[in-house]
């Protein structure tokens, strides 16, 4: 059942999803011990290759790998050969020669992790590719959801923001749908895809969306670097129309609705600062669960194998 790569949510079976979600729990339990590290990946190397800026996902992978005793090598892309014109393929060949067991990659180009995975024996983990997928984020989100709702089928999750350009929205909604969760999208009409998986309810008005009765409001981060996207409202305008304002927060608090956000939060944009201390805010829990979920993925994958084939002794 083990796979070589972890590239997207769409190709995972329900059984694999359940297995990974189930495995994240014992990993999280390790965090309360005096020694948080286990020797499972001792002697293995994990290379992180981030072509796009990231602090949270990057450090989460690093902590996860280190808690499994793997050696972590960060290829400092902005300062490395990438700026000297080396192609991604050449970089991967170099990494192959360095005998990396796992490669964690983030790139603005959709599909790049898949391309790398075909070229290398190492296990490739997609840490976000363009607007395509961010599968470990989806996994930690589902794990967090299951901590508050052990049987999440039938629960309602409202995802708010620029759905169209969000790999988080794509992967997380995909995984939630696999678990039988009802998903709603709320955002500017031009930024909520008309097509897409069945079973999604679309909203353009926050008040109307709250009447739908979501159990969780999942706020997407406003990507400041994408501010040049036409049809994206200004930040104050965004907060007023799609943000959790103080007024909406009162309603959310009254209903006991949970709040999720992939981080890092832009206070005063996606949400007002009161939300950060809200007892039903799951944002910090998501950070901790991210480490556990990524440990579960690293432990599950088997480098040096072709998909579906039994492993051969490689060295």
């Amino acid at each position: 059942m083990a796979r070589k790569d972890f590239l997207d949510i769409a190709s995972l079976t329900r059984e694999e999803v359940d297995h990974l979600l189930d495995q994240a729990t014992p990993f999280k339990e390790l965090f309360t011990r005096s020694v948080k590290k286990v020797p499972a990946l001792k002697g293995k190397s994990v290379l992180t290759l981030f072509y796009e800026p990231s602090t949270r996902t990057h450090s989460s992978f690093e902590v996860a790998a280190k808690r499994l005793s793997a050696d972590v090598i960060d290829l400092d892309v902005p300062h490395s050969s990438a700026v000297k014109g080396e192609t991604v393929k050449d970089t991967v060949d170099t990494l192959q020669a360095m005998r990396a067991d796992y490669i964690v990659v983030r790139h603005k180009m959709s599909g790049l992790p898949q391309a790398i995975a075909r070229q290398t024996k190492a296990s490739v983990i997609n840490a976000g590719d363009g607007a395509h997928a961010h599968p470990t984020q989806a996994l930690l989100d589902a794990f967090t959801l299951k901590e508050v709702f052990p049987s999440p089928a039938g629960k309602k999750v409202l995802i708010v923001g620029d759905i169209l350009h969000s790999r988080v929205a794509r992967s997380t909604s995909n995984l939630f749908l696999k678990l039988g969760v009802e998903v709603g999208f709320l955002g500017p009409g031009s930024l909520v895809p008309k097509l897409g998986p069945a079973g999604i309810t679309r909203f353009t008005d926050f008040e109307e969306a709250l009447k739908w009765g979501p159990d969780v409001v999942y706020l997407l981060r406003v990507q400041m670097e994408r501010q040049d996207v036409p049809s994206f409202p200004g930040l104050q305008e965004y907060h007023r129309v799609y943000g959790v304002t103080q007024e909406r927060f009162k309603q959310i608090q009254g209903e006991g609705t949970y709040i999720m956000h992939p981080g890092p939060v832009n206070r005063g944009v996606e949400l007002c600062h009161e939300v950060m201390d809200y007892e039903h805010s799951l944002i910090n829990q998501q950070v901790e669960n991210g480490i556990a979920a990524r440990m579960a993925v690293l432990y599950w994958l088997k480098p040096g194998t072709s998909e579906g084939e039994p492993q051969h002794e490689t060295d």
């Binding site: 297995h19 014992p26 011990r33 286990v38 499972a40």
Partner: protein
């Protein structure tokens, strides 16, 4: 071995452990899976004798020395250690003792929770053929086996019945 023989082996183990547990407070820790079930039975017997003790269980999958040789990593189960490990007197329990590698892994796992005062080892069935220098302090029964034999232990809560089967590979 049938259910009666397993019952006797548990009774032997309990008798020996009781002697220690009457002198000082012990923490019984079972290795998942099946070691935890043996540990539960020992704990039930200790409670029946009115002997207070702590109880826990550990999964040692993350500490195995053969993970890179497996096509698939073993499914991880929860560990439950709720007592204070520092200064505890641990009696570690497993169903079968063979090469000793599982126990080596368990010792590493236990000490990552803290620094116990002492760890002792209790085994339901010792089948011999150690590959590392680990010996039990308490043994329920010993079984003569060849190196390549398989000892299949089935316990009621885990497998639906109490039985030990020796499958010879000769």
């Amino acid at each position: 071995m049938n259910a009666a023989a397993i019952g006797e082996a548990v009774a032997t183990l309990v008798e020996k452990i009781c002697a220690t547990a009457r002198r000082e407070r012990v923490a019984i820790v079972g290795i998942r899976s099946r070691g935890d079930e043996v540990a539960e039975r020992v704990c039930a017997a200790l409670s029946k004798e009115g002997i207070e003790h702590d109880y826990g269980m550990i999964d040692i999958s993350l500490y195995r020395d053969d993970l890179s040789h497996l096509a698939e990593n073993p499914k991880l189960q929860s560990s439950e250690i709720t007592f204070q490990m520092d200064g505890a007197h641990i009696i570690l329990i497993d169903d079968v003792l063979f090469t000793g590698r599982t126990i080596r892994a368990a010792l590493d796992a236990l000490t990552d929770y803290g620094r116990p005062a002492r760890i002792q080892l209790a085994i339901l069935i010792d089948r011999g053929h150690r590959e590392i220098p680990i010996q039990p302090d308490y043994v329920g029964a010993t079984l003569e086996t060849a190196r390549m034999d398989h000892v299949l232990v089935r316990l009621k809560n885990t497998d639906g019945e109490d039985a030990v089967e020796l499958v010879t590979n000769s």
